[in-house]
Symmetry: C2
Subunit: 374 residues, 2 copies
């Protein structure tokens, strides 16, 4: 098994760790942000674009099992040589299990102990996903890291519902592990338990008992407040093993990445930088900016004067605004390049700060800059 | 004036010429195809993408005065340092005069001797374009080559209408030349006259009398048959000066480029490679292919096995079809890269054939391949 994780260094002032993931498609430095390539493409970006981004480019990307299963189908992708070859991406990939999307995208889902019956958001056709099937689909796709099929309960849910759901997710985790056949993929378990510390700690302990290559915190960033999310991340991360990667699923804003890296999270993914780019919102060193704003119409400065991305090196706010107003695809792409570059260089800055034991002061400056410049 | 044109060599078997355009933004080898960047962007393509295409990339692009005048406005672009700087394109640009778009895009146009009153296709606002104004707008945009404001009559039109229109276009051409102030832009006259040889020859002669840096054939590819279009191109090109570039506006298919280069045309532009790319039609060495076709769903070969573009080097027909089906922007971009690469390398092949006096055999092989492989 070509998978491994090593903690290289701990930050002196926080719980942050500098680490290294080893996968069949190469090594990844952590803490890491994974751009989301839902349909076998990080929207608007070619593989060479992803590699040309700051800090060595995207080290690992995430793709969605639910979407690929429905279109073009995991069997087709397997026939085409697997997901890496299909999308011409030779660096690591993580696929989710489809669990979250089944709950958030599909219609008329019905959950039983066996699995989840749901209707496709594309054509209304009926499908049945089980832990075994979700694992098999991910084995067909062939990502470096695959995830257990879990239930992601809505927020808020009752304590009893969360407990029962957690129990089922634990039974499903065992079934995922038992059904897994490929030796060249890492399997991560997912910790649930809502915003309840006792459930999270129990979920973490019993997931670790089953034993996985890494562990994820699921069911956060689902509508709860930021303090509640950070609190849940903190006590869940504390209950997770030191020697395995900790992956906080679906999070988050630049602030979330800084906060949760400080709490000991190693891996992140979120659609925010790519989705917001397509609607004209840019992440910058001084906070968010809306490129649609009329005040940028004759602004000849780059989106973020401190940024070194292709978009900021070559184009003005006025041009980006024009492209957005005119509905030009290049606008979405340049915004995506900028936002992903921002996220990846932010993670690189966090890694450097851990290496130099100064993440606490980095965090202070990160917020200070936003207050001053906004 | 930094503009010049030199015929370097004539083909032995056809009327084709190998030439060199000199502009303030560099030299361009002819015959040349100009990708269309309507709204200050060649749709889906960044400047670095255009330069990375085959045969040294796009040597010159076209942008549309009508669109830029309406959005974001020529004055804004002038304030931002001109069109080259606004779109970060440091190679030559040609702008059309807006004449054709006024006739094809706008509503409720009213033509008088003074100019054309029309309603914007964007917001219904009223505008008035005259030869002087079209020239002033193009001077604000700052392209290397600008075009006279002409009337492009619909097809078919009566002989009398075409003659009157030609007379007005000649008067407008004089007004464009007289109102031109910038010394660093070349101004091209446009020859009209429909499908009538006598009108075309008269239009050519009298436009040349006024005197321009180059001459365009306007009013073709507007609905007439291919034989009629080639015939009109032939007698019009014959009536044009040897020592000035000949630009066939809005043409055309790969076959049109081969045919009309053989008739002595030096410059082409057309939305076909970019527009067709976005709807899934690819130009290949064996003819057109529709990537949406279900037969490509599990086809692991590249779009065109003979092609060396980024898309064909890295992705399968199955992947391109998936991107199209899933509505992914990357699909439109990869298709655009492929089609423009095809057009630009075709022009390079034509130039090489002229250099080696074998355009006639090149043309034969070009058609032969399509018959055999389709």
């Amino acid at each position: 098994m070509a998978f491994g994780f090593t903690v290289l260094k701990k930050d002196a002032g926080t719980r942050a760790r500098l680490g290294k993931l080893v996968t069949p498609h190469g090594e990844v430095q952590t803490p890491v942000f994974m751009p989301v390539g839902t349909q076998a493409t990080v929207k608007t970006m070619a593989p060479e674009d992803l590699k040309a981004l700051g800090a060595g480019g995207a080290g690992i990307i995430l793709s969605n099992t639910y979407h690929l299963y429905l279109r073009p189908g995991h069997e087709l992708i397997a026939k085409m040589g697997g997901l890496h070859r299909f999308m011409s991406w030779d660096r690591p990939i993580l696929t989710d299990s489809g669990g979250y999307q089944v709950f958030s995208h599909s219609q008329l889902r019905k959950i039983t102990e066996e699995g989840v019956k749901f209707q496709s958001h594309l054509d209304g056709s009926y499908h049945f996903l089980t832990p075994e099937r979700a694992t098999g689909i991910q084995e067909a796709l062939g990502a470096d890291i695959i995830m257990c099929f879990d239930e992601c309960p809505p927020y808020p849910s009752t304590y009893d519902y969360l407990k029962e759901s957690m129990e089922m997710t634990l039974r499903w985790a065992r079934r995922c592990k038992d059904s897994k056949k490929r030796e060249d993929q890492a399997l991560f378990g997912i910790i649930q338990g809502g915003m309840h510390k006792d459930l999270r700690v129990e979920s973490a302990g019993r997931t670790v008992e089953i034993g996985f290559d890494g562990y994820a915190i699921g069911g956060l960033s689902v509508g709860e407040t930021k303090p509640l999310m950070y609190e849940a991340t903190e006590y869940t991360a504390e209950a997770m093993p030191e020697d395995r990667p900790r992956y906080l699923m679906g999070v988050g804003t630049p602030e979330d990445l800084v906060e949760c890296a400080c709490l000991g999270v190693d891996m992140f993914d979120c659609v925010m930088p790519t989705r917001n780019a397509r609607t004209g919102t840019l992440f910058t060193s001084f906070g968010k900016m809306n490129i649609k704003n009329a005040k940028f119409s004759e602004d000849s400065s780059p989106a973020d004067p401190e940024c070194t991305c292709y978009a900021c090196r070559n184009f003005s706010r006025a041009y980006l605004r024009h492209l957005y107003s005119a509905g030009e695809i290049l606008g979405m792409r340049l915004n995506t390049i900028h936002n992903l570059h921002y996220y990846l260089t932010l993670m690189d800055d966090i890694r450097k700060a851990i290496r130099e034991d100064r993440l606490t002061s980095f965090r202070r400056e990160f917020y200070h800059k936003r207050e001053v410049d906004q």
